[in-house]
């Protein structure tokens, strides 16, 4: 029964959707302070390479590798965040785009560490590691009526599901707090925020660092999901793809990028028939979104509409996470 219900293909697709959700949230955090980054693919690659190299060359346990990778990427994000502070709007977008490209070229050329364009393969696979771990505990998938590949896909999916829910929970909590209010006010008016006593340097770097950390985290997960990475996985197109999640879904509320990631990662699976036109549709979609719904599909009004019946009871709680812009 259970074994017939679990189809690795659908779990696979769902797993990548979850990964994209984390990426969407990562750009949303940075956008939340009005900073547009086209460098998230670069951060992702730093996370992916760090974890891959640590687990492969230094036998660091997978979990530790992912955590170190995320923290390290966050640290790089903070370092980049300082000069980025001086830049706004398109300048920041182009500078971060440049950062991503420089990182990619660096990884291509730093062969001793990254194996260049050939990429790193044989990275410990999250699911297969879980399988061998549970087998070492004397558990085999057969005991619950699953085939090995079903078990692997299911385990990976569940781990990602828990992680994504954790990430979403974290940032919803954060946005409904002093921190979230500071982010929102900076997005709306930096100078006024500063005059109201908000340390904009700190919060902008915090947001940039958090976005980078999360992107690095997603990158590390990506490395352990595909077991193979190469610099070309993290180019300009990836950066734009991540941005599209937030732009299409909406960057005002956290549900926007989540919806964007779900919708845009599911669509190709349904549209495999017309896959030839897929990217043309993406492009047209961006133009149409900007013209008719620049705030993205999910905005505060949509969220309010969903939660309307409870609005009155919610009086006591106050934050900005759900009502950043109109």
């Amino acid at each position: 029964m259970l074994s017939e219900l679990i189809n690795p293909y659908y779990l696979q697709v769902a797993t990548f959707i979850l990964l994209n959700i984390i990426l969407g949230v990562s750009i949303y955090i940075t956008l939340g302070t009005g900073q547009l980054s086209l460098g998230h693919a670069g951060f992702m690659s730093i996370g992916a390479y760090t974890s891959a190299i640590l687990t492969l060359n230094y036998n660091v346990p997978l979990v530790i590798g992912i955590i170190i990778a995320a923290v390290f990427t966050g640290f790089i994000g903070v370092l980049i965040g300082f000069p980025a502070l001086r830049l706004q709007g398109v300048y920041l977008a182009i500078a971060t785009l440049g950062f991503g490209e420089v990182i990619r070229v660096l990884f291509i050329n730093w062969e001793g560490l990254t194996n260049g364009a050939i990429g790193i393969r044989g990275i410990p696979h999250l699911g297969r590691e879980i399988l061998s771990f549970s087998e070492s505990l004397g558990f085999s998938p057969g005991m619950i009526g699953l085939k090995n590949n079903q078990f692997v896909s299911l385990a990976v999916f569940l781990v990602l599901l828990i992680i994504s829910i954790g990430v979403i929970w974290f940032f919803i909590r954060q946005s409904n707090s002093r921190i979230g209010r500071a982010f929102a006010s900076i997005k709306m008016d930096e100078e006024a925020s500063e005059a109201m006593g908000i340390n904009i340097t700190y919060y902008k770097i915090l947001a940039f660092g958090q976005g980078a950390l999360l992107a690095g985290f997603a990158g590390a997960l990506y490395a352990h999901l595909t077991a193979y990475i190469s610099p070309s996985d993290f180019g300009y197109h990836r950066a734009v793809e991540i941005l599209i999640f937030a732009i299409f879904g909406g960057s005002e509320v956290i549900w926007g990028p989540i919806f964007g990631a779900i919708f845009l990662s599911t669509m190709p699976e349904f549209l495999r028939v017309i896959s030839e036109y897929r990217f043309m549709i993406y492009g047209a979609l961006l133009v149409l979104m900007m013209a008719f719904r620049p705030q993205g599909l999910i905005d505060t009004n949509v969220v309010n509409w969903i939660k309307r019946p409870r609005l009155k009871k919610k009086e006591g709680k106050h934050g900005t996470g759900n009502k950043k812009d109109k």
Binding site: L87, V90, A95, V105
Partner: protein, 294 residues
């Protein structure tokens, strides 16, 4: 070798200049970075391929067709990706950036669809002509490209400062609302600007085609990103800056290959803009600051 590399660098640089001028013009007037410019440039190059190779028509027809087609593309870009955003309340200043990214994705994949993913040869008898001075061979194409870049720069400078249309354009660049109050038809000026900038992209496309005999759908992105780096380098909206930036980038890429490590060639442009943005955010020739909204 030095002289040969110098010529290589200048040729590449001149093409960068023509690409960058298109960006500069649009930014100067609209304060918008047109991310779709690279792809329009690529379409120009393909027009050249179709006219000279498939139809067997002479080169000047190719220029003409490329200018017309890219001009039309520019019009569509303005009409569908920029105009709807203008003057709309609550539209972030990043919206045009994103919608033009949309245009670039659309055009790149449309090109895949129509022209195929591979390289198309661009053969004209003109690209074979050369003169040899000493041990150095110079192709007429290389001279032509350099001359066109210079002409476009001076032409643009002259047009902006001396002609009525140009003055309207500059007035609009200063302040759209005021220009419109002063009786400048800003809508027309804006459309004109984008069309002219796109047509310049078309010219650049053909130049690349004859110079390198290589036209493919990905060239829009690689040249586009370089063009973007150049205008930051030279100062956004600055015509002379774009000129200098383009030549500097072309020369430094060539000399990095000649005397250094060719592996980092694609990184120079971006390392340069990161450095320049930190050290001198207004660009080499710019006067405005990075704080001005874009």
């Amino acid at each position: 070798m030095l002289i040969e590399q110098l010529i290589n660098g200048l040729t590449l640089g001149s093409i960068y200049v023509v690409v960058a001028l298109g960006y500069t013009l649009v930014f100067g007037v609209l304060n918008i970075v047109n991310m779709g410019h690279g792809e329009i440039f690529m379409f120009g190059a393909f027009m050249g391929v179709i006219v000279t190779n498939s139809l067997g028509l002479p080169l000047y027809v190719a220029f003409l067709v490329a200018i017309i087609v890219t001009g039309i593309l520019g019009y569509f870009l303005e009409r569908f990706a920029l105009r709807p955003l203008r003057g709309k309340e609550g539209v972030s200043h990043l919206a045009p950036l994103i919608s033009t990214i949309g245009v670039s994705i659309f055009l790149e994949n449309a090109a895949h669809h129509f022209f195929g993913a591979g390289n198309q040869p661009f053969r004209t008898s003109f690209s074979e002509l050369n003169i040899t001075i000493g041990s150095t061979t110079v192709y007429y194409v290389q001279i032509l490209i350099f001359v066109i870049a210079i002409l476009l720069m001076f032409g643009l400078t002259f047009w902006l400062s001396k002609t009525k249309a140009g003055k309207a354009l500059r007035a609009s660049a200063e302040n759209l609302a005021v220009a419109s109050l002063l009786g400048v038809n800003t809508k027309r000026v804006i459309t004109q600007t984008v069309i002219i900038a796109s047509a310049m992209g078309g010219i650049a496309g053909i130049l690349v085609g004859i110079a390198f005999n290589s036209v493919n759908p990905q060239m829009g992105l690689s040249f586009g990103l370089k063009g973007l780096a150049i205008i930051i380098l030279g100062g956004l909206g600055n015509v002379r800056g774009a000129m200098a930036g383009g030549l500097i980038l072309g020369l430094s890429e060539t000399f990095l290959v000649a005397y250094g490590n060719s592996g980092y060639r694609d990184a120079i442009a971006f390392i340069a803009i990161i450095v320049i943005l930190i050290v001198r955010p207004q660009g080499l020739f710019g006067t405005s600051t990075s704080k001005s909204k874009g």
